[in-house]
């Protein structure tokens, strides 16, 4: 009987826990993967903070969390409130928003690539309506590339956040809303003082999902820009990948991975604490 738990646990231990520990210890080495590895202490971490590309990636990751996370949260909540009740047509609207989540991020990237390319849909449309001066090499210009990628990522995330919020809203007691309505609360007051406080735990879940998703974001950037042009869309995840598998600086890349882990840890711990408290309640 113990084998039922032990075998899966061991599989995860070999495939996840052990590599994670190795990842941490690799970050204290200088190693190109072929020659001998030399221990360098915390040098990799010290170097990171004078590495302009790392600092750009760090800044872009912060922008990503704020814009991608923030807009997904607000827009996802908005459409969830709009489409929460069962009425005619609502199923189609929800499916429209939700469908992109079944596509891979690579598919998403290719779809939006056709949109943002120099002779892509967006520029064609701008030309057609006489806004030629607005046309732009959206993905090839350091000042717009990151935002173009975020738009594509949002298209896929908002429907997901909507599903989480609709599930949360459905679990609320409608009598409370009704009581507030009878007491003369306006729609805005009901949202802000009745719905939002009741959604507190859902909000926390959505926020942690969004932060973890932001820190993990890799595919869409890699597929659209590979982190370029001039590292303007570089995230910590893409920089880690190209450092590891492009430049073969394995120790340095591991240090970047550990930084991502450290940034995620607060969220992971709060998620686990919640999971634990639920487990105890039941």
């Amino acid at each position: 009987m113990f084998a039922l738990v032990l075998v899966p646990f061991l599989v995860e231990a070999v495939g996840v826990f052990w590599p994670a520990f190795q990842g941490i210890s690799l970050s204290f080495l200088h190693w190109n993967g072929i020659g001998p590895a030399t221990p360098v202490g915390v040098k990799n971490y010290v170097d990171l903070f004078s590495d302009p590309i790392f600092l750009t990636a760090l800044k872009n990751t912060a922008i990503w969390i704020v814009l991608f996370g923030g807009i997904s949260f607000a827009a996802g909540l908005g459409v969830a409130l709009l489409f929460q009740s069962e009425r005619r047509g609502v199923g189609i609207y929800r499916t429209a928003l939700f469908l992109p989540i079944v596509f891979s991020l690579v598919v998403t990237a290719l779809i939006w690539g056709a949109f943002f390319q120099p002779n892509g849909v967006l520029n064609n449309v701008l030309d057609a309506v006489g806004l030629h001066s607005w046309t732009h090499v959206w993905l090839g210009d350091s000042s717009t590339a990151l935002y173009a990628v975020i738009v594509a990522a949002l298209w896929r995330e908002i429907g997901y956040v909507m599903v989480l919020f609709i599930a949360g809203l459905k679990a609320l007691d409608p009598a409370v809303q009704e009581a507030a309505r009878v007491d003369g609360a306006t729609a805005w007051q009901r949202f802000w003082h009745v719905t939002m406080p009741q959604l507190r735990s859902v909000n926390l879940v959505v926020l942690s999902v969004l932060i973890i998703d932001s820190l993990r974001s890799f595919d869409i950037v890699w597929a659209m820009t590979r982190g370029g042009p001039y590292h303007s869309t570089e995230l910590l995840s893409t920089y880690m990948f190209s450092t590891a598998f492009g430049s073969h600086a394995l120790g340095y890349a591991s240090a970047i991975a550990v930084v991502i882990f450290v940034l995620a840890i607060a969220v992971i711990v709060s998620y686990l604490v919640r999971a634990l408290s639920e487990e105890k309640e039941a």
Binding site: F9, G23, L99, S104, G113, A171
Partner: protein, 297 residues
């Protein structure tokens, strides 16, 4: 409608206008709701539509009229090109070779672990459960280099089997957590009855608990199919031979080869999106339920 009419008839003159005003306001709200709904849906469908339409247009049509114009041609040649020269058929086969075993093995391991943890007094039960969940929350980047190295040491680097093993190991934590929550709600009496009848642990698991867990397994199966099928990072980390790439990675490298052939890339994009879309449409309800189940409890 008839109810309103009946009410107004009995209620007299003044309420009639009030009711009318209210129903007019309600009509306005309905129109507003559907206008918003349709606009949002169109905005969300439009990019998909453009790609699907583009995939059926010829190269000359697109270069002459632009990608945003209405199609002037219809061809399936783009699909033939992507399918044959682009190697998409092989890529789809690779994807299935990876995805199907990964989904089955992950669910099997997770269901076994969840069964043990939820139905028996396993020591350190809570610690084990949380550790397993924590493993799934780790940023994947931490694991890439050590796992790539491990597969090289075990001589399985650049094999589809390694891809399966890694994704099974990484998925187990999350699925165990969700299935644990589900199995805990199954009444103990069922199990006790089976035990009294002399059923072994394995039989209880396979014939009592597992059938009752079917809804959760369906939801997780549909979810995990799309997740594994859509993966890019592990494939480009662990595979080198281009003939071995699953479709997600293959389509991306195709993009490099056919930079200017929009329609071929569009056709490849459609091919890569079809399998997970089918799974979604077949399991729509459990799929959405699954997403909500994992995160909102």
């Amino acid at each position: 409608m008839t109810a309103t009419a009946a009410q107004t008839r009995t209620a007299g003159a003044r309420p009639v206008t009030a009711v009318r005003r209210r129903s007019r306001r309600r009509t306005a709200a309905t129109v507003g709701f559907h206008t918003t709904g349709i606009l949002i849906s169109l905005a969300w469908f439009a990019p998909i539509l453009v790609v699907v339409v583009t995939s059926f247009r010829t190269f000359d049509d697109i270069s002459a009229n632009g990608i945003a114009s209405l199609p002037h041609t219809f061809t399936l040649g783009t699909y033939a090109q992507a399918w044959n020269q682009g190697g998409l058929f092989q890529a789809l086969v690779n994807s299935m070779i990876v995805t199907v075993p990964t989904v089955i093995l992950t669910l099997l391991f997770s269901a076994a672990a969840a069964f043990g943890l939820s139905r028996y007094k396993v020591p350190f039960r809570r610690t084990i459960l949380l550790m397993m969940l924590a493993g799934n929350l780790l940023p994947v980047q931490m694991l890439l280099i050590p796992v790539a190295r491990l597969t090289q040491q075990l001589n399985v680097y650049d094999t589809l089997g390694a891809l399966v093993a890694v994704q099974v190991a990484f998925g187990i934590g999350f699925y165990t957590f969700v299935l644990y929550g589900f199995m805990r709600t199954i009444p103990h009496e069922l199990q006790e009855a089976a035990t009294l009848d002399g059923a072994s642990t394995t039989r209880i698991f396979l014939q009592v608990i597992l059938p009752l867990t079917r809804p959760a397994l369906a939801a997780l199966g549909a979810l995990s199919f799309t997740w594994v099928f859509n993966d890019l990072l592990w494939s480009i980390t662990l595979l080198q031979t281009s003939e071995k790439l699953p479709i997600t990675a293959a389509v991306l490298s195709l993009q490099g080869e056919y930079v200017s052939s929009w329609s071929v890339i569009a056709a490849a994009t459609v091919v890569a999106a079809v399998p997970s879309t089918i799974v979604f449409l077949l399991f729509q309800r459990s799929f959405i339920g699954g997403l909500a189940l994992g995160s909102v409890k």
